[in-house]
Symmetry: C2
Subunit: 223 residues, 2 copies
């Protein structure tokens, strides 16, 4: 079934083993590269590092026992993720495309936080940002229609990764669906609808580059 593409149960990459190579660099943040679809860390794994996307994109998700997946967030260039307060990660994180991350050992960070108020407040600010996103997303998942969800998604991506007026999505329709609590078909239909209404256009033939032609009408769909 869903064994390969999203790296479901089958794949148990050796994130720790790979990171072992980096263990020499204790203090200085190091960079690491993950290939498309590979796991960066798994849910319930020890949270030894925090990550920042240098290039590429990642997804964080939870799974139900039967494979249903909910993506909690996409991590784009510049985003910091993997920040957990407890000892373990609460999400699985995977590279959506070939991705370079900068990583930092968590324990040293915590140690700094205990002695430096401003680091602690920084952590608090980052956690609060994550919380705010999650709160907004609960409203979307609990109460918005499919069209409203897709509109909100497009506006979020427009805000976060538009370059030169074009939204170059790194993720496939299934990822979008699992982020929005829909099926990929419903996402596709909503995008087609918006396309038909002249609200957005596609560039190239991959369907992953989107131009927002009428931001006003799109915003009207995002209640």
């Amino acid at each position: 079934m869903f064994v390969n593409v999203n790296g479901h149960p089958g794949s148990r990459p050796k994130a720790l083993g790979e990171l072992g190579e980096l263990s020499r660099a204790r203090i200085v943040p190091s960079e690491f590269r993950y290939n498309k679809g590979t796991e960066i860390y798994g849910e319930a794994e020890p949270a030894d590092y925090i990550y920042q996307v240098v290039d590429g994109a990642a997804r964080s998700y939870k799974l139900l026992s039967d494979g249903r997946r909910q993506i909690g967030a996409f991590h784009l260039v510049g985003d910091i993720f993997g920040l957990e307060n407890g000892l373990v990660h609460r999400f699985t994180a995977e590279a959506i495309v070939d991705t370079t991350v900068r990583l930092m050992k968590r324990c040293s960070l915590e140690h700094v936080a205990e002695s430096d108020v401003f680091v602690a407040l920084d952590l608090l600010n980052m956690t609060t940002s994550n919380l705010q996103h999650a709160e907004d997303h609960m409203l979307l998942l609990g109460r918005k229609t499919s069209l409203e969800r897709v509109a909100a998604f497009l506006l979020e991506m427009d805000r976060r990764l538009t370059a030169a007026g074009v939204i170059a999505l790194p993720m496939c329709r299934r990822d979008i669906a699992d982020y929005l609590g829909l099926t990929l078909e419903t996402v596709s239909r909503a995008l087609s609808y918006l396309h038909g209404k002249g609200i957005l256009g596609f560039l190239g033939q991959t369907q992953r580059q989107i131009v927002l032609l009428d931001r006003v009408r799109l915003a009207e769909l995002d209640l």
Copy 2:
């Protein structure tokens, strides 16, 4: 509005409150009572205080422009809520029943946090707890069926407010529905179904007191 708080900026705090993790903050808490259904604070209002439920229960929610409501959390006895990092609240909070809260001035708390690393870390811990709850709730809202949602709700309430084997719910079906992203009818049907299966029982005639008769089968529904 409700301005009966005596803690003025000038007054020097002395006694420790029982605000648990925040006791180091050395802030004098005052109590206040809200009648059933009244607003404690509104979304986008200045966040001047943080709150702890002494008695009763509260709900935090967001509204869409057309009135659709998503309850993000219920606040039960002992819970701290209204903790925002920004200047304004991101939810509206209301008393579900007649409720007594202990409240603390936020600005003084922040001031302490800047100088006391342990207070800042306490704030971080509380924010992280909220984040974790929101993350779990996203999975519920995005991917679980109505029966699974109701089962998860019952188990959460069982964990958080059961006394003597009875779950005495403070909230009505509509609140539950708006928490679970369902309609009140669907919630009612799910409860009836579980009742019919012998998984739960009702006490009294208000339908608000629930006994879990078969926690095992209920847990099986919570994937």
